[in-house]
């Protein structure tokens, strides 16, 4: 059996763990620039995480084991997901453990437990956060799957590496279905990763926060893990979008030689993606929670259009 | 054997008339009925061994059809006697019946049984009519036993309506005789069922179809077919419960028996399905009307009398339908229905005694108050609405099958009736058996033997039909072809 794929696998996970905070930092930096503030630099997230790790844990009296278990679980799912999405190379051993549906399900687990943790302490904010989070998710997930289905229809598969491979090997250049799917995917990614206009990661303003509300009671290493996992999630969604829609430059075979190039190209793409994200966020305003139905509805509509256009136009 | 069967109740009536209201009168009553049942069983064995037989100079006639009915009749009358012992004692304590009436009650009870058995066993269509009238007359005053205004009203209606009906039947019989005489010549021979069935092919169709109308209306009134049924709910609800039990358990069967006998002749004569159609019409109408009336009953015995109408409708419908399966089902249905229905009436009697009322809204908490009565009632109702594994499900299954074959368009109506009846009965019974025991409920020792016996029989017949029964039914079916 070949050894390289496994090496690449570990390499990818390591890089993934390492780069994720940097990507967040990059996004924040660009944001500061666009808003004319001076930024804390690319590496501020690392410092935050370090700081949090070194702190003691402050735990509410009535926190149950769920509250303490959740951060590790979130982290675990994030890492596993990171192993699944092909970023550097197409054939990764773990990819075949889980196709894209499983990927969505992994995020769902993390969300499920985060929501529970939000309710565990029994504060009004926690409950509010959980309620809203689950509502949004229940609207976002169908749209997400529709988008994915569109792609998987095009590539006749739900296995990620296969999807990437099909698109990579150029059988499909700029299909209308894919365009629609991409648009839908972007909207959903905004929702899932809790960015503006759905949620504002940078605020603790009670009535607008969703994700922050759930993790309000966390501290110390728990908070560190959660923060880190979120950064990975953001990174992951971006990587997923890149991999499925713009895979060019990724290492087609499990040959170690291609990896550096692939890495560079990926960095480049990430940079561009981050810039795009920042543009969107500065362009848009946070929505009221009940306007989100329209937002996600349109995402669903786009995805459906993508599917229809696959049947009709192709 | 046959004569014993007839004479026992007759003498029983006389004896009880003399014994009157002594302490041991009920026991004598039970003994007489038991003896009757023994005789009936003996007769059954005889017939099972040697097949149909004539007796008393062609005057009596026993075949598979009436022998099982007579066994059934004697059996149910025995269990009813057992039940009535405790029941009537309670009634006396409540002071609803007096000394004189008890004497009267016992005598009339035996006389009634005699009349019914005579109906079944006689070979003479005229005597059949007489016995039927006798059965009516012997029960009229039992219905009015309590002498309450409603009881008297009910009895009066029973008397008048059945009298009128039966009169029609006599006219029908006259016409029948007229037709038969032209074939068989003068003399009493012409009214003997054996002869009639032999030459039914040669009888004059036009006359017979006329005759059948009168017979149908006449005996149909006693079967309680809509729209001739109006006496039935009143009579059942106002009389003492043992009487209601035998009325709907037995008398209706007997009337149906007479009707079926006539139907066979008419079919034989006309060679068409004319009579059958009429019966089907009546049956279906009865089922539907009864089912819908069930929905709005308040009096418990009234409700179950309507259910009797419904079931008689089913049986009539099946007989009208004809054919092996349907007839088989109808025979079975007569059997299981009378068992289940009389069992229900036993429990109902106890229930209403425990609450001193027949209004269902006031009857509550039987499961807790008296498990036997409660469960007896519940199971009885489950049987009567045709839930498996009770026998009525089997018979209804057969009848439905036949309907789907011969008259598929009628199936939905049949099912509608059954479903509505199901809902109506269940709704009421559930509220009676369930719940806490109300304050005014009096505990009492129930006569459990009859109920258990009947339900056990119904259950057994439902899942396993003994061979001799099967054989009887098949021969009976052949007779009624």
């Amino acid at each position: 059996m070949k050894v390289y794929p496994y090496i690449i696998e570990f390499l990818q996970i390591a890089i993934f763990l390492g780069i994720a905070p940097a990507f967040t930092g990059w996004v924040r930096m660009l944001k500061c620039w666009t808003q004319g503030r001076t930024s804390a630099g690319l590496f501020q997230p690392y410092r935050d995480i370090m700081k949090l790790f070194s702190k003691d844990v402050i735990l509410a009296d009535n926190a149950s084991w769920i509250f303490r278990f959740t951060p590790y679980l979130i982290f675990g799912t994030a890492v596993l997901a990171g192993g699944i999405v092909p970023m550097l190379s197409i054939d990764l051993p773990i990819t075949s453990t889980a196709d894209v549906i499983v990927l969505v399900a992994l995020f769902a687990i993390a969300r499920f437990f985060t929501a529970l943790a939000g309710m565990d302490i029994g504060t009004a904010f926690g409950g509010m956060g959980s309620s809203r989070e689950m509502t949004i998710a229940s609207l976002a997930e169908p749209a997400m799957l529709m988008a994915i289905f569109t792609v998987s229809l095009a590539s006749k598969s739900t296995s990620l590496s296969q999807m990437v491979h099909v698109i990579y090997s150029g059988q499909s250049v700029l299909r209308p279905s894919l365009v629609f799917a991409l648009l839908a995917f972007i909207l959903i990614a905004l929702a899932e990763t809790g960015r503006i206009p759905v949620d504002n990661p940078a605020t603790h303003l009670e009535l607008t926060m969703i994700h922050e509300a759930m993790i309000l009671e966390y501290s110390g290493r728990h908070l560190a893990l959660i923060e880190w996992a979120n950064m990975m999630k953001l990174f992951l969604f971006t990587a997923l979008g890149i991999a499925t829609f713009f895979p060019w430059g990724i290492a087609a075979s499990g040959d170690i030689g291609f990896i550096p190039a692939a890495l560079l190209i990926m960095m480049l793409k990430l940079g561009i993606a981050g810039a795009g994200l920042v543009l969107l966020e500065t362009g848009l305003a946070k929505m009221r929670i009940f306007r989100l139905t329209e937002f996600l509805g349109s995402a669903f509509l786009l995805a459906t259009l993508g599917m229809l256009s696959y049947f009709i136009l192709e | 054997m046959l004569l014993i069967l007839l004479l026992v109740p007759l003498f029983g009536a006389v004896i009880l008339a003399f014994v009157g209201d002594r302490k041991f009168a009920p026991e004598i009553n039970i003994m007489c009925s038991a003896a009757t049942f023994a005789a009936g069983a003996g007769l059954a064995v005889q017939v099972y061994m040697h097949g149909p037989m004539l007796a008393g100079g062609k005057f009596f006639f026993v075949d598979a059809f009436n022998v099982y009915l007579s066994v059934l009749t004697s059996f149910v009358s025995m269990t009813t006697a057992i039940f009535s012992r405790r029941y009537m004692r309670k009634e006396r304590e409540h002071g609803r019946v007096g000394h004189m009436r008890m004497r009267f009650y016992h005598a009339m009870f035996q006389l009634f049984i005699f009349a019914m058995l005579l109906c079944l066993l006689t070979n003479n269509v005229g005597v059949l009519w007489i016995a039927m009238e006798l059965a009516t007359l012997s029960t009229v005053l039992l219905v009015s036993l309590y002498r309450t205004p409603t009881a008297i009203e009910a009895a009066w209606k029973y008397f008048i309506l059945c009298g009128v009906g039966i009169a029609q039947a006599l006219f029908g019989t006259v016409l029948l005789y007229f037709a038969a005489e032209r074939v068989l010549g003068e003399g009493g021979e012409a009214l003997l069922w054996t002869n009639l069935s032999r030459i039914s092919g040669e009888l004059e169709p036009t006359v017979l179809s006329l005759a059948f109308v009168f017979l149908m209306v006449g005996y149909g009134t006693k079967v309680g077919l809509v729209p001739l049924h109006n006496w039935l709910p009143d009579a059942h609800s106002e009389g003492p419960t043992p009487i209601s039990a035998v009325l709907s358990g037995l008398l209706l069967n007997i009337a149906l028996y007479a009707l079926v006998r006539c139907k066979v002749l008419v079919d034989g004569a006309t060679g068409t399905h004319h009579a059958g159609n009429i019966m089907m019409g009546f049956g279906l109408l009865s089922i539907l009307v009864a089912a819908f009336s069930l929905l709005r009953q308040k009096d418990i015995k009234r409700m179950f009398s309507y259910s009797s109408i419904e079931h008689m409708g089913i049986a009539t419908f099946a007989f009208g339908l004809g054919g092996t399966v349907a007839t088989f089902g109808a025979l079975l249905h007569m059997l299981v229905h009378s068992l289940a229905k009389s069992a229900i009436f036993f429990t109902v009697g106890h229930a209403s005694q425990m609450h001193r009322t027949q209004e269902m809204d006031k009857i509550k908490g039987l499961f807790r108050g008296n498990p036997l009565v409660g469960w007896g009632l519940m199971l009885g109702v489950m049987a009567i609405v045709g839930l498996p594994p009770f026998g009525i499900f089997t018979s209804e299954f057969l009848i439905l099958t036949a309907t789907m074959k011969n008259a598929p368009l009628l199936t939905p109506f049949l099912l509608l009736g059954l479903a509505v009846a199901f809902a109506a009965l269940f709704r009421r019974v559930q509220s009676m058996v369930a719940g806490d025991v109300p304050s005014y409920q009096k505990p009492m020792k129930a006569a459990h033997v009859p109920v258990l016996l009947h339900m056990a029989l119904v259950l057994v017949i439902g899942i396993y039909m003994p061979d001799f029964l099967n054989k009887w039914f098949h021969t009976a079916v052949e007779l009624l072809k």
Binding site: F75, M119, I121, A140 | L400, F426
Partner: protein, 676 residues
């Protein structure tokens, strides 16, 4: 065969013995439920063996109608359902030993024990039956027994209403089934003999399409009424909550599955050769039930009621699989049909397990708190940790999250959906993927619902006004739940083994199997159709997450760092009390807003302002009532019409004897005219 029959007999025995031990209630409970457990164990073993060996055996009992004795037949399909039934009943019987003791001293449990046995026996007989008569007999035995179980606590009016409604719906369904069998039997033999009523005859027979359709529709109606498919589901959320919890576990877990069995048996086995739109009907009803079920479930605040509505949802998901399979079969694509069917059946088994688990958990909570209303609960995880953990497993499984079993079947269903483009019809091509989206919606909503269920019940603070002494469920109850939970996990991480075991079913019913391809990557990869198509390895996911969590945990705890327990911070708000928590109603508020049009909502807020200023109300009453719309649409009209009719009919009996005489007079005249 003999094993199964003997287990049935054992169950009857346990039912019949009960009245004898009337006086010794405690002994009665131990003995009879233990007996039931043993019987179920036997049954389960037999079922597993039958499916594994793929054998078919028959038996004809000497009872029943003379011309139509009871036929029994044990084939892999039956074996599969027997396995499902017996597995759950094994767990539940163990659980019951502890649970039912809760009634001791309150009420006699004899009837509960009796009908528990009859109920289980009835379900097994339904699956075994091989002729219409025996099928109906056992079907009604099952229905009647469960009716009495629902009515067990009969002093409550709501229980009686629920039981009555249940009985009526069940009976109407049974009538429909009877009709459909009648049609089939009639077409096979023309009613000439009763042999037409045996399933064998129906298998052999060829039916003309329109009659087959009639039979199928009737049967589907009947079974749907039993399975609680929308819009016939109304009885279900009434009846399941009020039954004793061990019974509701069985009813939701396996009784509904007998209806699924019926649908599969009739459509695939007895009728066969159906057009695509039969499948479409099943699919559509499945989708409607799934979505409506979960939405209604979200609106509930009664824990068991919520679970009952989830049964509607899951039945919907199962039907989706079956419907797809029927569509594929009708277009003669055996492989895809096999995939879809496996998905449906797999979910059948999963739902049995986790719904049973959840109801047992809810029962434990009820047992401890005597409370079904979630608004009165909270923080139970501290007082009953075992129950909480096991209930959580159930929640995760039913919300279709890996690595538990719910996800496997949902994943398979998705795969089946994604293969629909292979279908010829363009319409189907376009529409079926939308179904996939609905399924996704269902899954997500289910997750939301169970966050609510678990969060409100077990997390936070105790919300109730009264504060009962709550202690953990007893050992037997825990044992039952633990076993179920383990099964959930097992089915989640080792699906391939199960599917290879089940392959015989699809092989017999649709003529192909996915097992070989599923096994292609070894025991840990679930790859239906082809490995590059899609693949999932529950075990890897499980182990992966476990490994990462473990590693991280260890890394973080190399140097011990203190954990300070402090009062709640909550953004520094002052004194929060338990009334400030989110509760069930508030949790589901956003979704209620979004999907409000589907419900019949009555919502009002009453302020009683203090004198000085309306902005500072003394008290605020919030009233919310959510009704099932289908009541008004379907049930009320029927009831009202029948009562109107009965009033009409009542006029016949109007008291005056002259009128009665006129009736007979007219009857005579009419008949005479008619027959002259």
């Amino acid at each position: 065969m003999n094993i199964i029959v003997s287990s049935v007999l054992l169950l009857f025995l346990s039912a019949l013995l009960a009245p004898l031990f009337k006086s010794r209630q405690r002994l009665l409970i131990n003995a009879s439920f233990l007996l039931a457990a043993i019987a179920s164990l036997l049954g389960a073993a037999g079922g597993i063996w039958v499916v594994g060996a793929g054998i078919t055996s028959k038996l004809i009992l000497p009872v029943g109608l003379p011309d139509l004795p009871f036929h029994l037949r044990l084939d892999p399909l039956a074996g599969f359902f027997i396995t499902v039934i017996c597995l759950l009943s094994l767990f539940v019987s163990l659980y019951s030993i502890g649970y039912v003791k809760g009634y001791l001293g309150k009420r006699p449990v004899t009837s509960l024990v009796v009908f528990y046995g009859l109920f289980l026996a009835g379900m097994l007989m339904v699956v075994l039956a091989d002729d219409a008569l025996f099928f109906l007999v056992s079907w009604e035995v099952m229905a009647a027994a469960s009716y009495f179980l629902v009515m067990f606590e009969d002093e409550l009016i709501e229980n009686r209403r629920a039981a009555f409604l249940y009985m009526i719906v069940a009976h109407v369904g049974a009538i429909a089934i009877l009709l459909s069998f009648g049609i089939m039997a009639g077409l096979t033999t023309g009613f000439e003999s009763f042999s037409g009523y045996t399933f064998d005859a129906m298998r052999q027979a060829e039916f003309p399409l329109q009659w087959a359709t009639a039979a199928f529709l009737l049967a589907f109606f009947g079974f749907a009424a039993k399975a609680g498919v929308v819009p016939l589901h109304v009885w279900l959320p009434e009846a399941h909550p009020v039954a004793p919890s061990n019974v509701s576990a069985l009813m939701s877990g396996v009784m509904l599955k007998t209806a699924i069995y019926g649908i599969v048996r009739v459509s695939f086995d007895l009728l066969g050769g159906f057009p695509w739109w039969w499948g479409a009907i099943v699919l559509i009803f499945g989708l409607i039930s799934a979505v409506m079920g979960v939405l209604y479930a979200l609106m509930q605040h009664d824990l068991k009621r919520l679970l009952a509505y989830h049964s509607v949802e899951n039945i919907g998901i199962i039907l989706i699989g079956i419907g797809l399979s029927m569509i594929f079969t009708s277009y003669n694509m055996p492989l895809l049909a096999a995939l879809a069917l496996i998905a449906g059946l797999y979910h059948t088994m999963n739902h049995a397990l986790f719904k049973g688990l959840l109801f047992m958990g809810a029962g434990a909570v009820l047992h401890a708190t005597h409370e079904r209303n979630m608004e009165e609960m909270g923080g139970l995880i501290h007082r009953m940790p075992w129950t909480a953990a096991l209930f959580l497993v159930g929640c995760v499984s039913i919300s279709a999250l890996p690595p538990f079993n719910g996800f496997v079947s949902e994943w398979l269903t998705f795969q089946a959906f994604l293969l629909s483009p292979a279908l010829p019809g363009p319409l189907l091509k376009l529409l079926i993927p939308l179904g996939a989206a609905l399924l996704a919606l269902t899954g997500a909503l289910a997750a939301a619902c169970f966050v609510k269920a678990f969060g409100v019940t077990f997390l936070g603070h105790w919300r109730g006004s009264r504060n009962p002494r709550v202690q953990e469920a007893g050992p037997t109850m825990r044992l039952g739940m633990i076993l179920a939970a383990l099964m959930c996990l097992f089915l989640g991480i080792l699906p391939t083994a199960i599917i290879e075991w089940m392959d015989i079913l699809t092989e017999q019913l649709v003529g192909d199997k996915i097992g070989t391809t599923a096994g292609a990557f070894g025991w840990m990869w679930l790859t239906p159709i082809a490995s590059e198509r899609a693949s999932y390895s529950g075990s890897t996911v499980f182990l992966g997450i476990l490994a990462v969590v473990a590693v991280v945990y260890l890394l973080l705890h190399v140097k011990p760092s203190a954990i300070h327990r402090v009062p709640i911070w909550d953004c520094g708000f002052a004194k929060i009390n338990q009334r400030m928590q989110y509760n069930a109603a508030s949790f589901s508020m956003p979704i209620r807003r979004i999907f409000g049009f589907l419900f019949n909502i009555k919502e009002q807020v009453k302020l009683t302002p203090r004198g000085v200023h309306p902005a500072f109300p003394m008290r605020l009453n919030y009233y919310l009532r959510i009704r099932d719309r289908f009541w008004g649409w379907l049930y009320k009209p029927v009831v009202e019409t029948s009562f109107r009719l009965s009033r009409r009919v009542g006029r016949l009996q109007q008291g005056r004897i002259q009128a009665y005489l006129i009736y007979s007079f007219i009857t005579i005249i009419v008949l005479l005219v008619f027959s002259r």
